[in-house]
């Protein structure tokens, strides 16, 4: 499943495990000090980094700020990245850590309610959202624990491998597999009982 057409020259989710040769060349150029090569990487990956953070925070302004900080950090540390791996995994790892720092604790990152980081969601509101939601991901957000949602998003929406998902989230590969299995079971059960 491609999110972008080839003509848009975007990187398709699920390009793991090996980096595309073109992207590897861009990363190597960045390491050699080619600023334009990094800007090309920004053009390719901004949307995915922003969407990942937005899916987790549901707060547009925060997601934009975190996305910007992510690329600045990546630019300063580009010599640390392995050019032979897809850079998106590394970018999302930075984004995740940046978001956690942004909200000052991992708890804040994993417990952000829908729509805004500062609004509390009452149980009644959760039921209302659940009934209103036509989108599977909205249901997933309501039903699943934030960590399970994140793992499912990386694994299915981003089409990350188990290994990449584990790297980004800091979990073991076995843990990732179990969480994905459990999340799918919960969601499918919700679908059949709805």
């Amino acid at each position: 499943m491609a999110f972008f057409s080839q003509s848009e020259a975007r990187v398709v989710p699920g390009s793991a495990p090996g980096a595309l040769p073109e992207e590897s060349a861009l990363v190597r150029s960045c390491v050699d000090g080619d600023g334009r090569a990094f800007e090309e990487l920004v053009r390719r990956h901004t949307s995915r980094v922003f969407n990942y953070v937005f899916q987790m925070t549901r707060h547009r302004q925060d997601a934009e700020d975190i996305c910007q900080q992510t690329f600045i950090k990546a630019y300063r540390n580009i010599d640390r990245v392995d050019p032979d791996r897809p850079i998106i995994g590394w970018l999302l790892t930075i984004a995740r850590r940046t978001a956690i720092n942004h909200f000052r604790s991992a708890k804040a990152w994993t417990e952000l309610p829908e729509d805004t980081a500062s609004t509390e969601t009452s149980p009644a509101r959760q039921v209302e959202n659940l009934e209103r939601a036509g989108n599977l991901w909205e249901k997933a957000r309501q039903i699943l624990a934030p960590r399970d949602f994140e793992v499912l998003w990386l694994r299915i929406a981003e089409e990350f491998s188990v290994e990449e998902t584990a790297r980004v989230t800091g979990l073991t590969q076995t843990h990732v597999k179990v969480l994905v299995y459990r999340a799918r079971q919960q969601l499918m059960k919700g679908e059949t009982t709805a």
Binding site: C67, F71, L136, I156, R184, T192
Partner: protein, 204 residues
Amino acid sequence: MNAHPSPRFICRVVRGWSSLAGVGPGGAPAGFGAHHVETCEACQEYFGSCAEFDAALKAEAALGRVSSPGLESRVIAAIRDSRTPEPRRSRSFAIPATALIGAAAAFAITFLVMTRARSTPSNDVTPEEVVAAAQSISSQVWGTVKPSATVALKKSNSLQDELNSVYSDARGAVDFLALNFLPGPGTTAGATPPQPGLPAQQRG
């Protein structure tokens, strides 16, 4: 409503095991699990549902992606801002600062030498004292100068190299001034300095 009866124990084992060893999200299992699925309609239906569900999740993720107009441009602008001016500011500030402090140190040593040469007999000062005084002054001056300048330039390796070079040259100059112009025993300013590191008896 749940139309599906509770799966048999073997079915649950196969489904759970496939999540750890299967070929992918919602994918059919390999090995003994594959053999079971071939003969179990319930599991065939289950894995079919998983695959459909994953496909639906992917499709809806694509539809649910949001755009942020202008974000790319803002990110690129922020990166350009972060990479160009900072090293230049550091360089233009740090190098003259180093030179100024070096000149001040040299002036202070010269002043000390002149006043001390006038006020004290030259044989009051031993070679060890001369070396110790020179090293003390030099260390104090450069101990304060180098860290701040280094911090200012830590983001640029080439500038760091340049600073190290300036630091080395200037420190050599201060040491030279101190050792040449601080009065030694029975010598006047400008005489051959004692060699640091040699015992006092061996020094000329």
